[in-house]
């Protein structure tokens, strides 16, 4: 498959870097202000030089000399949307995806915004297109959450829950293990690059909530024949509590009783909820550090647990490239 990668952050760069290993060519790469598009001189299946793109981004902060619009107009089979998540109208990611669909091309998203905030609009665009969208990378990084739900069939999945934010999980794990306060552990996480300078998105539960909203949309739309019958979820439909004010004493009391606290997200076809919850200390959901876990409750197959790395460039890129493979 010929890929146009829009967004040159950790995920976009990893997709560029790893595409050839999965048998795909990258024919265009764009960041927010520049782009590089294969000139086609070696034939339409010869892509850009991945190494040159990654090096130039690292050294000069640009990916090439072309305009980002050229990348959107390039001769690709699949557009990979890996720009930063935006809320509300989910732009510019939403338009990147619909541009691809209007051209009857596929789109694979690593950007949560469009699938969390405008799932219905996306489904409408897909209905009018010969292209499809896939978005495994938006939920749980390397963990195949969306495709597993699809394999089981959303109508046979009663709930999906889990630990979907590595930063919050790292903080809670360290607080419980070391008896340290939130501020101390947050500073440590920031030093380690586990938390951003502004950690709000992670510690307030927004990131986990977006992932649960996406899962709720998958469950809701997947369970009906006509998308018009499905309930659409956005972040506004989620009941969200973060971990910012969880005191160390609460974690101590939990530990005395063989329990601990985890930021748990839950999605059904009807509700989305993210909140710190008490779980058994050695239970399945009490994953440590930056690990994520997705637990799928099914009608006929019991409970499935999939844990793994919920973030990271190559990890998320592997989910993106897995989606590309499913579109072949």
């Amino acid at each position: 498959m010929r890929l146009a990668v829009i967004g040159a952050g950790a995920v976009g760069r990893s997709v560029v870097d790893l595409a050839a290993e999965y048998g795909h060519q990258v024919v265009a790469v764009a960041d927010s202000s520049t782009a590089v598009v294969a000139d086609g001189s070696g034939g339409r299946n010869v892509g850009v030089d991945p190494e040159a793109v990654v090096t130039r981004k690292a050294e000069a902060g640009i990916v090439g000399d072309d305009d980002p619009d050229d990348a959107l107009a390039a001769d690709y089979d699949v557009l990979v949307e890996a720009t930063p998540t935006t809320l509300g109208d989910a732009e510019p990611g939403f338009s990147h995806v619909t541009t691809a669909l209007e051209r009857d091309r596929h789109a694979v998203l690593a950007n949560k915004g469009p699938v969390a905030e405008r799932f219905g609009d996306l489904q409408a665009a897909v209905a009018d297109s010969a292209g499809e969208i896939r978005f495994e990378a938006t939920v749980g990084g390397a963990i195949p959450a969306v495709s597993t739900v699809e394999d089981i069939e959303p109508g046979h999945v009663t709930a999906v829950r889990g630990v979907l934010n590595g930063t919050a999980n790292f903080i809670l794990t360290r607080m419980a293990a070391e008896g340290l306060g939130y501020d101390h552990v947050l500073a440590e996480a920031q030093d380690l690059g586990v938390a951003e300078a502004d950690p709000s998105f992670d510690v307030d539960g927004t990131d986990a909530a977006l992932k649960c909203v996406i899962l709720a949309n998958v469950l809701s739309f997947g369970a009906v024949d006509d998308p018009a019958d499905a309930r659409e979820f956005t972040l506004d439909d989620a009941n969200v509590e973060g971990i910012r004010d969880v005191p160390g004493s609460a974690l101590r009391l939990a530990a005395e009783d063989g329990r601990t606290v985890r930021l748990i997200g839950e999605a059904t076809g009807e509700t989305v909820r993210v909140a710190p919850r008490l779980v058994p200390e050695n239970g399945t959901l009490a994953v440590s550090g930056t690990q994520n876990i997705v637990q799928i409750e099914t009608s006929h197959a019991g409970r499935l647990n999939i844990s793994g790395r919920g973030a990271g460039g190559p990890e998320t890129a592997s989910a993106v490239l897995g989606d590309v493979g499913r579109l072949e």
């Binding site: 005191p247 939990a254 779980v279 637990q295």
Partner: protein, 200 residues
């Protein structure tokens, strides 16, 4: 007959002949009670659970130890039948609980579910004992255990925390949690709920 009972309210003698339709006297008449207990699968647990019954005036009739059958929490359900007056029966249930024995079902009351949760925030300033009695007032649950952790030192910003173990009636865990949720909201406390029905 009523003279005898008035004179010896604790006596179980003669109670068997009681056929009085007067409900007011029923409390001093021994009747058969069944309690369902959950025991940890360790030696001595059964004996420890029977002591509070015998020591508090219960007359053991039968014990059905369902070894091999486990509750969702991996404990062993035991059904115990005994005779006791209503008053003593209540004392026995209380004694069982204070010994740490989990009483799932006592008479008609079914405490099938145990829920542990955390509350944190200004627990002391918002009158912890009022918080607890308001939970007690909720019909679905009773407070079985409370552990409190207050911040160390003075002038600290950190809030205090409490771990509560509630016993909820069968199928009423959600109502019990909803009541605590509302109360927490009212007092501006934060509630960390358990994931109920998830962990086997």
């Amino acid at each position: 007959m009523s003279d005898t009972r008035d004179g010896a309210p604790d006596s179980s003698d003669g109670a068997a002949v009681d056929t009085s339709p007067d409900g007011g006297h029923a409390a001093s008449t021994p009747s058969t009670h069944t309690v369902r207990l959950e025991l940890v699968d360790e030696p001595g647990q059964l004996l420890a659970a029977l002591h509070p019954i015998a020591d508090n005036g219960g007359n053991l009739l039968s014990i059905y130890h369902e070894r091999g059958n486990k509750t969702p929490r991996g404990r062993i359900p035991v059904e115990v039948d005994f005779e006791a007056t209503q008053e003593r029966f209540e004392g026995i249930v209380e004694a069982l609980r204070s010994e740490g024995v989990n009483v799932m079902q006592a008479g008609t009351e079914r405490y099938a579910e145990e829920v542990t949760l955390l509350l944190f925030g200004h627990l002391i300033d918002t009158d912890l004992s009022d918080t607890l009695s308001r939970i007690e007032a909720c019909e679905s649950a009773s407070v079985a255990d409370v552990s409190l952790a207050a911040p160390q030192g003075t002038g600290t910003e950190e809030s205090s925390s409490a771990r509560l173990r509630l016993e909820a009636r069968a199928g009423e865990t959600e109502q019990a949690l909803a009541a605590v949720r509302e109360l927490a909201d009212d007092k501006d406390l934060r509630l960390v709920e358990p994931l109920t029905g998830v962990e086997a």
